[in-house]
């Protein structure tokens, strides 16, 4: 039946599909994470004769994108949506990836701006030592901070 080939090219096999272990090793995420991402629709694979997952090298880029987006604070559901906008039929182009990175770049800017604002206010409060006197802007999240309340807390663990 099949000839004896290194399963999915641990080092040779330049154009072979990648096994889940290959992807894990190259992308730096655990195999279980790749399984998990697949159940969440973030990546895709097909199966070989023995029911094992096979990936194109595209998946490496996708995983890289996922990790970067996570660092910018984007939850997996949003990442999934963004990746879903990529064409499934063809290999994503540089422009595709660029569009994603720009999208998240904006979100990242916003997050940085929020935190910077918080820092400035914290500075003001260090000056007065209050952190909770009634006029403290931190204590009274009037408008600007008001909308931020929830989203900002789950950024970098």
């Amino acid at each position: 039946m099949t000839t004896k080939m290194p399963r999915s090219g641990s080092l040779s096999a330049t154009k072979q599909a990648l096994s889940v272990g290959d992807v894990a090793r190259r992308s730096g995420v655990a195999v279980s994470t790749l399984h998990f991402y697949e159940t969440k629709g973030l990546i895709q694979s097909w199966r070989n004769a023995g029911n094992q997952r096979r990936y194109t090298r595209d998946v490496l880029r996708r995983v890289a994108v996922i990790k970067i987006a996570q660092r910018t604070g984007v939850p997996l559901t949003e990442i999934r949506e963004a990746l879903a906008a990529l064409p499934d039929s063809r290999t994503p182009t540089a422009a595709d990836w660029r569009r994603l990175s720009q999208r998240w770049r904006v979100a990242l800017d916003t997050r940085i701006a929020h935190l910077t604002q918080l820092r400035d206010q914290l500075d003001g409060c260090i000056g007065c030592g209050c952190l909770s006197l009634s006029q403290c802007p931190l204590r009274n999240p009037g408008d600007v901070l008001g909308g931020d309340g929830e989203g900002a807390q789950r950024l970098e663990r």
Copy 2:
């Protein structure tokens, strides 16, 4: 939401102890959250004759501090430690709060710095559209990374 409450002195009774409902209303967190914070050692209370929680006004500042610290990204366990450093016996002074805010200000700076660095790297990759895989895969189709075990962690953590 009606401000009619004889229970533990919402408006008059300037020196009254606060019920858990009072604290919830004034601090903006849910009653269940206050219970939760208490189990975690973030706040304290004593009980009245009917086994209901009573708080000093200090708790309002503590809760405010907790919320602010969370906005800067500090997890509850660390907040607890920081608050534990406050003197239990006396009402915390402005200097006490200032020490806390400075401590978190540093952490916040660090977080902003991390995100800024990430943004800059993202910028670099927007230029080529690759999102910075270890070696840009769009320009590195030879897959040099294939055998070297570790893979594509670039934008450090």
